[in-house]
């Protein structure tokens, strides 16, 4: 009988203490600023490799600074910023999302820093037979981005232009070969790298990231489109000086060299 009482009375305070500790621990964890020197960069998925290189260079130049990358689709990053996510820098793969954030007053001084062009990636075994864009209908399974995501919208434009110059039959042939509308460009790439799809349309920078695992076929300039990448500091950046320094590095000649290495191209007319 006594046992019941003592167990209850000893467990109950323990439970209260546990809850109190958990809640008091949670409070600061939810509200806290990132530790000093931490720079949070919201970067479009296609920038992952180039920005990793730039981040380690930045950390070398700024002792004590630590770059934390938040990599996702530009649309997703925009939604996170709109819903109050804490970060310092936003680099978008699409001007639309940056302009929207600028209109809402959430970013400061957006500027273009690189451009990217779509290319065709072909699974390595087919590299020999599929050498030009005109050969694309030879592919059995083509994977593209969903029209809702930037790469898918560009792909649609390219196919439309191709239909206009190679004939509507060409465009229809391509459409009939599409087996999946992937939700981001890296998933398109993954399907081709794995050999499940014969061809896919991704950015040149993505193709560079899979060098040796896929064959790359350029899209004729008259059919192609250019994706412009803007970067900006977030209005609510907890580390504005570091944020500005990072943006400067990305836009510097050294930054441009890293980006070129990763497959990005200078923006036309600049």
């Amino acid at each position: 009988m006594r046992r019941t009482t003592s167990v209850t009375t000893s467990v109950l305070p323990a439970v209260f203490v546990a809850v109190w500790v958990a809640l008091s621990g949670l409070g600061p964890a939810i509200a806290a600023k990132p530790p000093s020197g931490e720079l949070v960069v919201f970067e479009a998925a296609s920038l992952k490799e180039a920005f990793a290189t730039l981040a380690s260079r930045f950390e070398k130049d700024h002792p004590g600074a630590h770059v934390v990358a938040n990599t996702a689709g530009s649309q997703e990053l925009r939604a996170q910023i709109e819903h109050g996510a804490v970060g310092d820098v936003f680099a978008s793969a699409d001007q639309r999302h940056m302009s929207a954030l600028a209109t809402e007053g959430l970013v400061v001084g957006p500027a273009l820093f690189a451009c990217n062009e779509p290319v065709v990636v072909v699974r390595s075994a087919l590299g020999a037979s599929l050498k030009t864009f005109a050969d694309l209908p030879r592919a059995e399974r083509i994977v593209v981005g969903a029209p809702e995501v930037p790469i898918g919208a560009y792909t649609l434009q390219i196919f439309q232009k191709a239909g206009a110059s190679y004939g509507a039959g060409f465009a229809a042939q391509l459409q009939a070969k599409i087996v999946s509308h992937e939700l981001n460009v890296r998933q398109v790439l993954a399907k081709v790298v794995l050999g499940e799809a014969d061809a896919g349309i991704v950015y040149r920078s993505d193709a560079m990231a899979a060098k040796g695992k896929v064959a790359v076929v350029a899209i004729p300039a008259e059919l192609n489109v250019t994706a412009a990448y803007p970067i900006a500091m977030l209005k609510a950046a907890p580390r504005p000086e570091l944020a500005r320094a990072f943006v400067d590095l990305v836009r510097s000649p050294a930054g441009a060299a890293v980006l070129r290495e990763a497959g990005f191209v200078p923006c036309p007319g600049r």
Binding site: M1, L12, F16, A146, S180, E182, G195, E196
Partner: protein
């Protein structure tokens, strides 16, 4: 120990601190969890006007996705019931008390663990695993290719992905239910001359029915929500492989309201089917 509480026990429960603190603690802790689960669902349901939600349902993605989801999850459930029931039965029989210590029993326990592994696999990993098994370069790729079968990017791939991730839930329930069967009852049935199939169909399944139905409901719910493995293994093509969760994610890229309408649709369909299965199980 007597059934009636002793005087000391009654005094303990009358302690005023405990009388307040205990219900308070129970209420606080369960309330926290309830809120955590209920609030997001309320947010989903009430953050947009019904008109906005109805407009969202007009999106061309909706009808094909709904039709495909109902079709594929039904096929998945049938596959799981048809193959999972015998598998659960044999595992339960081979590992039942009495013969549960031998090497064969141990082997069956290992098998049981293996088929239940997908529960803990992250969905994207499940998708890659399926590609590495059934894809062009997968283990069975050359054989399937020679037979002219290309699984990835087809409706069949959706069913395979759903079965892979959802089957363990039914299997777990089936094994547990069959293990709980009274050994005397089985013995009596066998002595009365019941053949093995008769034992399964007229004794084991009817007695275990509520647990089996519960497991089936869990499996069905898991198949309905399946996203990662499907996206990886079957791709995302409206009308062919784009199930509701994939349509929701696709819509999220352009229009939050459509995604929200679709999510509510998914919640309603899931809720209705779970209620139906529960009601069926009770009968």
């Amino acid at each position: 120990m007597s059934a009636a509480p002793s005087a000391a026990q009654r005094r303990a429960w009358r302690s005023p601190l405990l009388a307040i603190a205990w219900p308070g603690a129970i209420g606080l802790l369960s309330g926290l969890l309830l809120l955590l689960v209920a609030l997001p669902i309320a947010g989903l349901l009430f953050s947009a006007s019904p008109r906005q939600l109805l407009a969202g349902l007009g999106d061309p993605l909706v009808v094909p996705a709904l039709r495909l989801t109902i079709f594929t999850t039904t096929v998945t459930l049938l596959v799981i019931l048809t193959c999972g029931t015998p598998l659960g039965w044999i595992i339960a029989r081979k590992t039942r008390r009495g013969i549960g210590a031998g090497p064969t029993a141990r082997l069956w326990r290992v098998l049981e663990t293996i088929v239940e592994l997908p529960v803990v696999l992250p969905p994207a990993v499940a998708g890659v695993a399926l590609l590495l098994a059934f894809g062009r370069r997968g283990l069975l790729g050359p054989a399937l290719g020679a037979a002219g079968i290309g699984l990835p990017f087809t409706c069949a791939a959706v069913v395979v992905a759903q079965t892979f991730v959802a089957a363990p839930f039914y299997l777990q329930a089936a094994v547990a239910a069959f293990r709980r069967l009274d050994p005397d009852m089985i013995l009596v049935a066998r002595t009365l001359g019941a053949s093995p199939p008769r034992l399964l169909f007229t004794v084991a399944i009817p007695v275990s029915w509520p647990s089996l139905a519960g497991g089936a409901a869990m499996s069905w719910a898991r198949a309905l929500g399946e996203f990662g493995a499907t996206l990886m293994f079957a791709g995302n093509m409206s009308g062919r492989t784009q199930t509701l969760p994939l349509a929701i994610y696709t819509a999220l890229e352009s229009d939050l309201r459509t995604a929200q309408s679709l999510s509510i649709l998914l919640v309603v369909v899931a809720f209705a089917l779970l209620v139906a299965i529960r009601a069926g199980a009770r009968r």
